[in-house]
Chain length 339, copies 4
Amino acid sequence: MIVYLKTNTSTTQIAEMQLHLKQAGFESYLVQQPNICMVPALKDPSIIERFPFISGFKLISTAYQLSSNEYKNETLFEVNGVQVGSNFANIIAGPCSVESEEQIFETAAFLHKNNIKFIRGGAYKPRTSPYSFRGLGKEGLKLLQEAAKQYKLNVVTELMDLSLLDEVMAYSDVIQIGSRNMANFYMLSELGKINKPILLKRGMQAKVNEWLLAADYIMSSGNEKIILCERGIRSFDPMSRNVMDVAVIPLIQSLSHLPIIADPSHGTGDSKLVPIMAKASMVAGANGLMIEIHPNPSEALSDAKQALNFTDFETLLSDLEVLKPAIKKPIDASYSVFI
Amino acid sequence: MIVYLKTNTSTTQIAEMQLHLKQAGFESYLVQQPNICMVPALKDPSIIERFPFISGFKLISTAYQLSSNEYKNETLFEVNGVQVGSNFANIIAGPCSVESEEQIFETAAFLHKNNIKFIRGGAYKPRTSPYSFRGLGKEGLKLLQEAAKQYKLNVVTELMDLSLLDEVMAYSDVIQIGSRNMANFYMLSELGKINKPILLKRGMQAKVNEWLLAADYIMSSGNEKIILCERGIRSFDPMSRNVMDVAVIPLIQSLSHLPIIADPSHGTGDSKLVPIMAKASMVAGANGLMIEIHPNPSEALSDAKQALNFTDFETLLSDLEVLKPAIKKPIDASYSVFI
Amino acid sequence: MIVYLKTNTSTTQIAEMQLHLKQAGFESYLVQQPNICMVPALKDPSIIERFPFISGFKLISTAYQLSSNEYKNETLFEVNGVQVGSNFANIIAGPCSVESEEQIFETAAFLHKNNIKFIRGGAYKPRTSPYSFRGLGKEGLKLLQEAAKQYKLNVVTELMDLSLLDEVMAYSDVIQIGSRNMANFYMLSELGKINKPILLKRGMQAKVNEWLLAADYIMSSGNEKIILCERGIRSFDPMSRNVMDVAVIPLIQSLSHLPIIADPSHGTGDSKLVPIMAKASMVAGANGLMIEIHPNPSEALSDAKQALNFTDFETLLSDLEVLKPAIKKPIDASYSVFI
Amino acid sequence: MIVYLKTNTSTTQIAEMQLHLKQAGFESYLVQQPNICMVPALKDPSIIERFPFISGFKLISTAYQLSSNEYKNETLFEVNGVQVGSNFANIIAGPCSVESEEQIFETAAFLHKNNIKFIRGGAYKPRTSPYSFRGLGKEGLKLLQEAAKQYKLNVVTELMDLSLLDEVMAYSDVIQIGSRNMANFYMLSELGKINKPILLKRGMQAKVNEWLLAADYIMSSGNEKIILCERGIRSFDPMSRNVMDVAVIPLIQSLSHLPIIADPSHGTGDSKLVPIMAKASMVAGANGLMIEIHPNPSEALSDAKQALNFTDFETLLSDLEVLKPAIKKPIDASYSVFI
């Protein structure tokens, strides 16, 4: 149950209510301090309605609470002046791994030329084998940030472990949580305490309920800037790296206010299929795309098979132009347009 | 290996070559009599190259042979004057089950009004429970054919068992093989002996290789008029009836010359998602759609949750108009255009 | 709902009741004529309780009705004097395919020597590729029956298509329905009309509910002699042919009165793992085993990797002796013991 | 490739060789300092064979290297005097979560009475929902350790995040890595640097290759004390929490020297099935069991459905006695027996 508090409620009053709830056996979460308090297990408001500073109640019917569209209609925030949210779309592109200064600056320049606002790049890479290239580490983060600054891009990069949080905070604008960490609940709770948008990829075996509950971990700790990202699920046919669950995009949108983007690079694992699935995802209503590109895919140190070269990425962008009447959402809209 | 025969090769000559192959341990298949003979296990042509009526050889690199695009570039055939094939698209719509004369005539009239050329409808229904409505049987087939005749539609209906083949042949224009029969190999071989297009749905757990080998069962028995249909695969999240594998559409098209259509009704099991996934599939390159519609979905005797009402289906059709620049294939093109 | 009828109820009386039910919108099934009639959708007996020949009602709480252990406690039948049922166990062994007279007679002699009562062997083989060995057909069935007769074995063989039913009936004692046909509902209904035990393998992605409903298809048409067989389900790791769901054995036994045996040959696809999983399955409570054996596995024309040689099969049998205190069920008990 | 070094090789010599390898493009790992160095990508020894302190080479044929049985035949270590390894078995039991002093001391006393040597219990719980009981935290760890000390038990508890490593190190004897962290590669590398056994659960959709590579992450960082644990994989039937992959036990044992135990509590999610699957796993060769027990399962704060009560656990122990001739491995053998 969502408990709405009057605007002038004091910290002491809230603490008193929370103590009362705890004694009655209910955990509570201050979500949008000081206006909203959530008490997930509470079904009957009579237990607290006597507190005079409560202005209203709303019961949410699903296990996930804060990510539900019963909690709010819309998510909207901005990243350095670019609109992100359930009625907008954004394109994020860049290499799987930051490999060299040349590679990342060339990529950043290319993105800038094409009016892209977000660059992705991994510095600490989750690799199935310990004997594969694991990224340049902090050096990679620095290069990524420098290139982004020069070309006015926002940085999206993955946080592999909480012990790297300060480092990743310092060098990024959006923090990506990879598929393997979607159910790393301890990490998710900690991410609720920071003020930076979180790109939360779907676990490779995550049910929709589990994914939204993962978002609730972040939200119930205080951070409501979340972007979901479908990146393919594991299935039975070894011919494909993953099966991209395109239908989960409109399904999530019917359940949640959170924006959801598509990552057809991991979703298919095959650069031949990436542009096609990017377009299909946008037509299915995705709030954007995350695409792996590389100046020279065949020489990429990781995920070489799924990276687009620059030409193919530009073709995709112009194909998306053709689809604009069907997409209906502004892509990478800048904040100023709306003020 | 495909063995090409000169055009004037006699039946006796072919029989002699096949006997020679058999004695050497090789099964052979007359595919497009009398021009083409396939010998799947043959890698080395020296064993038969002495036959003077052989004009050439082609080794095919995959386990599936005749469905491979190494065998041919394109499939093209017509169904009562409507073009079907790898460069065309078709829309098939209709109820899950034929339920009554009124229902099927109303649906047929509606399809005719919207220039649709194919009507679907089940008369013998594969139901998980023996205690569910199993269809009207022969009576349903008759109603379906009458409605189709009156409104100039082609009939697509499912063959559940070979013992019903004569009946289904008599009342249909395209024979649908459902997901549960995709690996019914005995049936597939028999379908290779008839001269009617086969709509071959993907098994709910079928790998791409297995699906194309199922097509090879039909083709190696002589019938090359096949339409593949993606209808969702089984996965781990009970929230969705199936996971629609949209990426299999371009993947199949990169491997095979066979047309592949999408069935978002079974693919999602949810009428809210059907139009969205129909559009996404068409943008992903599908050679058409199979959509369940019903005059009054809430009263449908089977699959009520996934049927579109007429209004939503018309909205989908007009949305597809907007997408035409991205679709690039003529939809339900009539034969006369090409002569 | 199960409706129990008094023993002297006439055919006319039953027909009258069924007509009354039909007019009220309820399908009914005569299960054990003339004693039991099932009306799956009926929840409220008041609609028919006025018929004086009704002796009682039982509501069954699951979608599957006749395979539920709410319908009966136990299944017990005999195959040529050998006990089969929920409190017994049986071992079925033999080659994947009947390949030659020598192979099948050698195998039969070996089984006889080891007191095995059931021989398996395929004559019509469901092969993923049309270009693989598909079995000897009727010739194979004849050889199998001759070998079985000479060595006092019961024949278990697969029915691939209803058009082969008469042939398979003539040459077998137990009819096997393979994984690919578990959801071939038309075939299942027809198998309910014959008087021969059915070995019903689990579909490779069949849920427990679906499997038991498939058994209900057979039972509601009149045949209650069913043996279920777990043979592995499809999963995501290409390292294994299938994942053997051992826990489904006790799970089914907690839901159903039907006996369930294990097929570790298909369950693992690996002859190294077969004996281990055979033992684990028996300790998990299986009502028997189906094992592929071959005089010379490396030369088998199908499933060579998973067939045991004779020595390894004898080792398995003596290992099972050690496990007898844990198995607790008589194996291949002959009928005379119990009269 | 494994590079064996003569016993008197100096640190300087090794450093020189590693530098040479790095310049040639090869990463190397000192595994058992100073005897063994691994160079995963090296196939041709000529590049370093000139170093006189190299005594031999061994090429390992799989992607996973150190967990392969080509690297070593056997794993053997002890935990406070109890033998653990590929030829031994151990039983770990205890509650899902430490809930109270009373609960954990009662459980510990019970285990002690039954000669069990390892107690499990969660203090930081990975829960799908943020609104479920997440464990007592550090307080729980303390209670667990106190109870274990009093009753001479070893503590097995889960590490949810690296930031809790020091705490968990201080209170446990074996560190459990849960299913959701199996692919948390950064954490795995750090665990290679500690001197405490790691119980590495299989990810819920982890392929065998991926699981062994996860073990390689730990081993290549220096820690070879690893116990694998099968705990069920995710599949398509919502009737079961997981599908327990019993066959993976002998499969892993044919590939790796690492011991592998079974967790039928998570593997089935159903206390009715737990003892049956525990026995089946032991007969399949498992190196032990991890079982959830609770003094009063119906009141458990987490995983109530899968916990055994004390009576059922004792029945399981006596059933295992019956199976001893088939199990063949000493269970919880104490170190003194072997010296």
